[in-house]
Symmetry: C2
Subunit: 454 residues, 2 copies
């Protein structure tokens, strides 16, 4: 028998895998599995607020009432009742919607005390138990044909890319932007056109110049952005909607965090503004919206959704069929169970209170312990803020030092294009408990002061 | 304000979506949602055997014992304990493995009465409660580094394609083969090289000629194939393993059905034969194996797995990270809970008995009611068999007639390459209850006899 060598698979990988890198940062962050590490690195919700008892009860109800359906193959689009619920939650005349579907209207996520009516365009409020619309030109009405359930927000982004982006297509993104979007779409061979941002979110004036380069899509996390925590202001939102129309370009609005608002005025989604401002008769428009239950319920379910024009939904469904047939039916049913009985509306304020405290502790600790040469963003919600070091410093070096003191964060470079961001890093404030947040920031402050003093 | 038209998304879809077709057959099969339809069309397990009470108990245990972990983000590779369990189940010296991990060894799925020891190469049996190896040259030992959990078998196939296949790459497949594999990989721009098959599975002699065309991969469902229900014989399996080595080519062994054996001798997987025959020291080899809990537990969980050489696993993990971060943690934990406590080993024989009866009823009914001009395969397991009509007939026409009599099946053409299969159709026997199977076959027989008589 001749000498046998096993197949060399490494020579056989597809070209697109060249973009699937493991980075030095990721290797370094493996160290964070050590016990005693204070984790500002990931994007994890606080597990102590997972509604485990409610999840148990929901699992029992789902398996009792829908056992066979909840364990069987289902349509790729997702469980119809959950799609209905999402469509209703994003619609703005819950009066009629609620009645039409025979289900009591759902209270809109934006609680009244966070709505600044002066800032909103013209707010329709149909009594205390119905949706509130920000821009009241017309009703904004969705139904399930505009909704597909995905295996988390990440799959939503992956499917949108697969359906819309060819090699060499251009995509305008905030710089910095969500890391996993860059890694998901980079392997499709697209070219990213960066648009810088400030405390008021993406610089929409700058976007206009970028749109001359004819990107196929704009991608944005307008509210409590990952990694900066900043939010696109209302004026810019309106300007953005105008630009989408003027340049006939589509926008992906990635919106995992907007329910987690701790201060400031609530903002209408770009989805809603686009639909209301432009298409009084056709309500499809230029926006593809991505939502998720990961941050407001629990990420382990892997249930997210896309709201898009019907023709986009149809293609996404075909792509999803080949990608994973459908999202876990059990997960979908549990999400629906927790959403429809009103629990979600009780749970979000609890998260808001807890995370508001953590944000406040982090910001106060930064002010107390960080060297005066550093600066940081001051988010009104979400899970992250971003620190900027003085010019000569590199966040990767700071991470190496910080890990020696058992504190972890993510250097900003990977969120950036054009090699920017080397002197920035992202801090997560949702996962660690308040006492640990102060301790971690204190240690980090010491590390940074020593680096600067050197 | 100038006249506004909404964005025309249809002009913006990626080229790869051209391959994402909705077919006439799919449109026709939408009619099967009507009540009273006898469904031989899908590939659904019988929901009456879903272990709902056990699933309830498992969900409670999981949320009690692992609540925070089971609802949190997790590593892309999958829940470590489930990967360990799968590695152990596919390893052949469960004695040591079981002891090493501190978990009692798991009884191998192949029950002793279905093992034909004469047919197997040389069977190692370590007592009644351990794995049985078919080809005993050496131990076949896996660990979790060779296993990644996927969102069902479909995602496994999608990820394998994304990691290994470039545009214009060639893939050898049985003709006919699994429909959703064709649709998932077709959009990657690959070229399929068909290999015909008979009652003993893929014609491996013919494969040899096809391998001259240098395909990058061979894809096969060797056991109880979808759509034909046929199984690759042992001699051909050994010959296939030789060919893989000789032509230095990789094989994707898609194996959702092999636990569902109702008659005949159990077969070693190609994975095992490849590892044992070739690589006594390096146990990675030429095979990428795809498994799933969908057919033996419940598909709604969407939990499958890939067993592959480590370098392939590593790339697949990177691809999966961008695709959906990870599979539903709750689903993974429930699958593990049902697997590890031995329930799966009680449940599979129950499914075997129930589906054996359905297969027997279907075959007996075919013999009784179908015109003598038709023929069909006689599967030893799985969920499907395939009918061949006389030359002049088209299964699509037969479907249109059958639907009028409230019976549905899938015409064979879509499973085929080169425009073959127009006179074949696939019947599923796992979903309908025995009485309905007989009634459905009777009605179908009548339809076919009328068509032939015309």
């Amino acid at each position: 028998m001749k000498t046998v060598t096993s197949l060399d698979w490494r020579k056989r990988f597809a070209k697109r895998t060249d973009h699937m890198k493991r980075t030095a940062v990721r290797e370094l962050l493996k160290l964070t599995a050590q016990p005693g590490m204070i984790l500002f690195a990931g994007g994890l919700p606080a597990p102590e607020f997972f509604p485990i008892q409610r999840a148990k009860a929901a699992a029992q109800r789902v398996l009792t009432d829908f056992g066979k359906q909840a364990l069987q193959y289902r349509e790729t689009e997702g469980v119809a009742e959950l799609r209905d619920w999402i469509a209703r939650r994003f619609s703005c005349s819950a009066h009629e919607t609620g009645r039409r579907t025979g289900v009591p209207p759902v209270q809109h996520l934006r609680t009244p005390d966070t709505i600044d009516r002066r800032q909103a365009l013209s707010c329709e409020v149909h009594g205390s138990n119905t949706s509130k619309c920000f821009s009241g030109k017309s009703h904004f009405q969705l139904d399930r044909s505009r909704v597909v359930i995905t295996s988390g927000g990440q799959q939503a982004l992956d499917l949108i890319g697969r359906v819309l982006l060819n090699e060499n297509d251009k995509v305008a993104v905030e710089n910095p932007t969500y890391l996993a979007l860059l890694s998901a779409w980079r392997r499709l061979g697209v070219q990213f056109l960066p648009v810088s941002s400030d405390n008021d979110g993406m610089r929409v004036n700058e976007l206009e110049a970028v749109l001359q380069g004819r990107p196929k899509l704009v991608y944005s996390v307008p509210t409590f952005q990952n990694p900066q925590g900043t939010t696109l202001g209302l004026e810019r939102r309106l300007q953005l909607v105008e630009l989408l129309r003027e340049y006939d370009v589509g926008l992906v609005e990635d919106d995992p965090y907007s329910e987690l608002r701790y201060s400031g005025a609530a903002m209408p989604t770009i989805l809603e503004l686009d639909a209301k401002q432009q298409w009084s008769d056709r309500q499809d428009g230029n926006v593809i919206y991505v939502g998720t239950f990961s941050k407001v319920l629990m990420p382990g379910l892997r249930v997210g959704w896309i709201i898009a024009p019907e023709e986009v939904i149809e293609r996404i469904v075909r792509a999803k069929q080949a990608a994973d047939l459908h999202t876990s039916t059990l997960s979908q049913h549990i999400a629906w169970e927790l959403a429809r009985d009103g629990f979600l509306n009780e749970h979000i304020p609890l998260l808001q209170r807890a995370y508001r405290e953590r944000r406040d502790v982090m910001v106060a600790s930064l002010e107390k312990h960080f060297p005066t040469e550093t600066s940081w963003t001051r988010p009104d919600g979400g899970m992250f803020l971003m620190v900027t070091l003085p010019k000569a410093f590199d966040a990767f070096d700071a991470l190496k030092e910080a890990l020696k003191h058992h504190v972890a964060f993510v250097p900003g470079e990977e969120f950036h294009l054009q090699g920017l961001g080397r002197k920035t890093f992202r801090l997560n404030f949702s996962n660690a408990q308040p006492g640990l947040i102060e301790e971690g920031v204190k240690r980090l402050g010491k590390v940074l002061k020593q680096m600067i003093a050197r």
